[in-house]
């Protein structure tokens, strides 16, 4: 039997084998269960609301906040700079470019901890890197950042730094969320310009 016939038989046989394999267009987890569990037990996947407040104040360009709540909830108020990817829409191919990338650190948040941790597990299971969770969600943000106040006569330098960080983040949150949607982007641009001028730089 010549080589050409052998090759043809091999290709036909592989074709038949593939044809009988169950077709699976599903997106299954890339990590093994034990690998995912190992990552899941780590506390390194969490950022505190104070850390996120600092990112907001610094307009840190290495992070991407992802609000997993519904569009209505997002429109009512959200952490400045965040994008809205409702949890139900997480695997929509339109969002894959935002979630599956290696440059920015994605920080998920919901109102509490449940959906953010579910989203983290799904994204990490699919092999998406740089994925984190804001611990406590927007409820914790509100309790710690928005409602924080200092009571007492003396404030230590450390307490002062924490309070100032929260105060600035609260101010940005309130200012931006009080504006109509169309003005929010303009506000951020104006604030950036003002800071550049204060630093003595130029546009």
């Amino acid at each position: 039997m010549n080589a050409r016939i052998k090759l043809s038989v091999l290709l036909v046989a592989i074709g038949i084998l593939l044809a009988f394999l169950p077709f699976n267009a599903a997106k299954s987890f890339y990590l093994k269960p034990t690998e995912l569990l190992l990552k899941s037990v780590s506390d390194e996947i969490y950022f505190s609301v104070d850390q996120v407040a600092r990112f907001v104040n610094n307009e840190d360009s290495t992070i991407q906040l992802i609000d997993l709540r519904s569009e209505e909830e997002y429109k009512e108020c959200n952490i400045p700079g965040s994008i809205n990817i409702p949890f139900a829409d997480l695997l929509n191919p339109d969002w894959e470019g935002y979630i599956n990338q290696k440059i920015l650190r994605n920080i998920f948040y919901g109102n509490g901890d449940q959906i953010a941790n579910s989203a983290w597990t799904i994204a990490t299971g699919l092999g998406y890197e740089n994925t984190f969770v804001m611990k406590g969600g927007l409820n914790e943000w509100y309790k710690t950042v928005m409602l924080s106040e200092f009571k007492g006569e003396r404030i230590t330098p450390r307490e002062n730094v924490i309070f100032e960080n929260r105060f600035n983040a609260r101010k940005t949150f309130t200012q931006i969320n009080s504006l109509p949607d169309s003005l929010k982007m303009q506000f951020l641009a104006a604030r950036r310009l003002k800071e550049t001028q204060l630093d003595g730089g130029c546009e």
Binding site: L10, A26, K27, F29, P33, N111, G112, S118, S178
Partner: protein, 154 residues
Amino acid sequence: MNKIKSLGLIIGLLLIVLILVIARTSNQNLFKQDAQNAIESATKSGNSISLVELKNLSEEYLVINLNNLDNSNSTQFQNSINIPFESLLEKANRKILNEAKGKIILYSTNISIASKTWVILNQLNYSNVFILQSEQNPEVFKYKFQPDTTAKLE
């Protein structure tokens, strides 16, 4: 006969491919579910159960307490077993999960752990798994944002 002999190499290759395919599809240590299934199950049908619902549950269930044994805040339930999150996938614990009848209810003092466990089990094809919510729905926003009506572009 000669023809069959000359096909030996091809048959051998096909057998190897077939064995690899069978080994992969029957491997218990891989996720095979569609990830979208986790999202749909969590959003459309709901994956949580309240303390009151648990109390009134008439069908069989098993509560999996995911806390570490030394966690003194952990509540005790009827029909419960302790499987710390870290050892969820150990052989003995997988056996318990496989043999569980009725609903599997995940409990942890930290809802994050229960959420992550739920996704892992859902993707390992365990159906009928629920998260026990000790408080009212934690995904409800507890506050009301008060806009600053004087806010303007500076």
